[in-house]
């Protein structure tokens, strides 16, 4: 797909949306996608290491790696581990610019910052991972989780695919077990403080790794908004027929949209994040009616449930496969000897 969209392409897309047709096909059924339909999601988990995920959402492809290391905690939070999310977009991937006359670098930095902030709010701020569980010795040693999100191909909707990939990786990730050796036990006459030594059991054959404590599973949904009428009509009247809401917009739809809404929910019917920050599109953005927004949130519960169950079943199936392939059954206490 070329970076710049011609006026004919934009008009063609808008006209197709007016006729209830999306241009991108759902490869499952062959027909055009519905307005609230996701592209097919393919999740691959690594067989050789924990916390590595490749996720494909249509043609959008992202990769997540989670690494862990032991570090010092922040001084104001001595009982909590550290979790950081890094989102990188390689230089060869050209993001669709909403305004081609704008400075390209500023737009891309803005976009990357938006993705980083959205994922940070969805996962870290909402306490999806129990950070207190990552504490080894309070004030001295904690686990630090480093989540690297790499965009391999861009065809729209990075926030949803990034969030799905990170959540899948966190559910799959396991960290080495740690034993704390208290100094005072061996040297009772020591006058030094209680600082303990730790032993990291990094051989999985000797001691199994421990998975993370996941408190809930946040799922991001990004809605693209199109304003079919004029801007004055959108601001002054409440004509719902003049607005189109798309779920999971691809790159072409994202470059033509007038606004977007990022919504993060979990299966417990809790809203974690809701961002309507204006579109900045060529038409200058769409304003959302309050009641329509609430209806949209309620209608999205089914999609949230579907995606949550997809993530859970993928991780569960993968763990079962790994269990069978590595012959862990022989290690069970009730196994035939």
């Amino acid at each position: 797909m070329s970076k710049e969209l011609s006026l004919n392409q934009k008009n063609y897309l808008i006209q197709a949306l007016k006729s209830n047709i999306r241009l991108s096909t759902s490869t499952n059924t062959g027909g055009s996608r519905k307005f609230n339909q996701f592209r097919p999601i393919d999740i691959k988990l690594s067989n050789t290491r924990y916390g590595s995920v490749e996720l494909s959402l249509g043609k959008t492809k992202v990769m997540v790696n989670i690494t862990s290391r032991i570090t010092e905690p922040y001084q104001d939070r001595p009982f909590e581990g550290i979790m950081t999310i890094n989102c990188e977009i390689p230089n060869h991937i050209k993001l669709q610019s909403n305004d081609t006359t704008n400075n390209n670098n500023d737009n891309e930095d803005e976009f990357i910052n938006l993705i980083n902030r959205a994922l940070d709010r969805a996962i870290r701020r909402s306490n999806a991972v129990d950070l207190e569980n990552l504490c080894i010795i309070a004030g001295e040693k904690v686990w630090e989780l480093i989540i690297d999100l790499q965009v391999l191909n861009y065809d729209g909707n990075l926030i949803d695919s990034g969030c799905l990939a990170i959540i899948t990786a966190l559910l799959d990730f396991k960290k080495p077990d740690v034993t704390i050796n208290n100094n005072n036990t061996s040297n009772s006459s020591s006058t030094s403080g209680g600082g303990g030594n730790i032993i990291v059991h990094d051989d999985e054959m000797k001691r199994p790794f421990i998975e993370l404590s996941i408190l809930h599973i946040p799922i991001c949904l990004t809605f693209s908004l199109f304003n079919l009428g004029s801007k004055e009509t959108n601001l002054k009247t409440n004509d719902i027929d003049q607005e189109i809401w798309l779920l999971d917009g691809d790159a072409m739809e994202e470059s033509c949209r007038d606004g977007y809404l990022i919504m993060t929910m979990n299966q417990n019917h809790e809203l974690i994040q809701l961002s309507k920050i204006g579109g900045g599109g060529n038409n200058g953005g769409v304003s959302i009616d309050g009641q329509q927004l609430i209806n949209l949130c309620h209608e999205s519960i089914d999609e949230i449930n579907r995606l949550t169950n997809l993530v859970k079943s993928t991780v569960k199936n993968h763990q079962l496969n790994r269990y069978n392939n590595e012959n862990y059954k022989l290690l069970e206490s009730s196994a035939d000897r």
Binding site: D99, T101, N102, N103, D106, E110, N113, L114, N116, R117, R121, R125, S126, K231, E232, N234, L235, K236, N238, G259, L261, M265, H269, E270, L271, I272, Q273, L274, S275, K276, I277, G278, G279, G280, G284, G285, V286, S287, I288, D289, G290, Q291, L293, I294, C297, H298, I301
Partner: protein, 240 residues
């Protein structure tokens, strides 16, 4: 501490649907800017100046069919109880800057001012909760003072959810202990130009919190409109 007593009083004596004291002034810096305003929303104090439409300093900021809106948001290090030096490139500030730029690109008639730049400088002097809402109100008043054409007012308010009760116009103590929602409402309608929810909120409660936010924004719009009309009457009388 008790944020909301069984008698229905908050920690500062307000009830659940009462705004803090809202005081606003326009044309506060007539020499250094084309439009200026000062907004106090409770103890949150925001100062805003607008220069523009002016010629852009950089060629990349120039658009042949519309104006470019640039927002510079400065949060003073003394604005919180503990002094905190904030760099301009902090991610949160960059996001707020982008949010404000996109919100007002939506509300300002930027197609009337092609090849120009509108520079909005916001200085937050004191923070006591609801900072983004106060900044939105301040920018709206400054743009009106500058004579820049807008479709309608954008009024902002933040509201929180305390257990089952929505609370309007939260302050700093309330912001830390409950989930908060910031809305920017366009004029007298129920259209949302901006909506930002960063904490967990049950979906069942969203409707009540949103409705109280929209009602509070309408009240703030009234208060802003009163000040603008009063200032207009004063200037009209000076013309005679």
């Amino acid at each position: 501490m008790e944020l909301y007593s069984p008698e229905g009083l908050r920690i500062d004596g307000r009830r659940w649907n009462e705004l803090r004291r809202f005081e606003c002034r326009i044309n506060t810096h007539p020499n250094s800017s084309d439009g200026s305003s000062y907004v106090e929303q409770g103890n949150t104090k925001v100062m805003c100046t607008v220069q523009g439409p002016i010629e852009p300093a950089l060629r990349s900021q120039q658009h042949s069919e519309r104006a470019n809106i640039e927002v510079n948001l400065n949060i003073a290090s003394f604005s919180t109880f503990e002094r905190k030096k904030r760099s301009r490139n902090e991610r949160r500030l960059v996001e707020l800057k982008t949010t404000l730029e996109k919100t007002f690109e939506e509300s300002v008639m930027i197609n009337l001012y092609p090849r120009t730049n509108i520079v909005i400088n916001v200085q937050v002097l004191c923070q006591d909760g609801g900072m983004l809402a106060a900044v939105i109100n301040s920018i709206t008043l400054a743009l009106i003072d500058a004579g820049i054409s807008m479709y309608d007012y954008v009024s902002g308010v933040s509201c929180g959810l305390y257990d089952q009760t929505p609370l309007l116009d939260v302050n700093n103590l309330e912001e830390h202990d409950m989930s908060c929602l910031t809305v920017g409402v366009i004029g007298k309608s129920e259209k949302l130009a901006l909506m930002l929810l960063e904490d967990k909120m049950p979906l069942d409660r969203l409707e009540s919190v949103l409705s109280i936010g929209i009602a509070g924004s309408h009240k703030i719009r009234e208060l802003m409109d009163q000040e603008v009309r009063k200032h207009g009457i004063i200037r009209a009388s000076k013309m005679q």
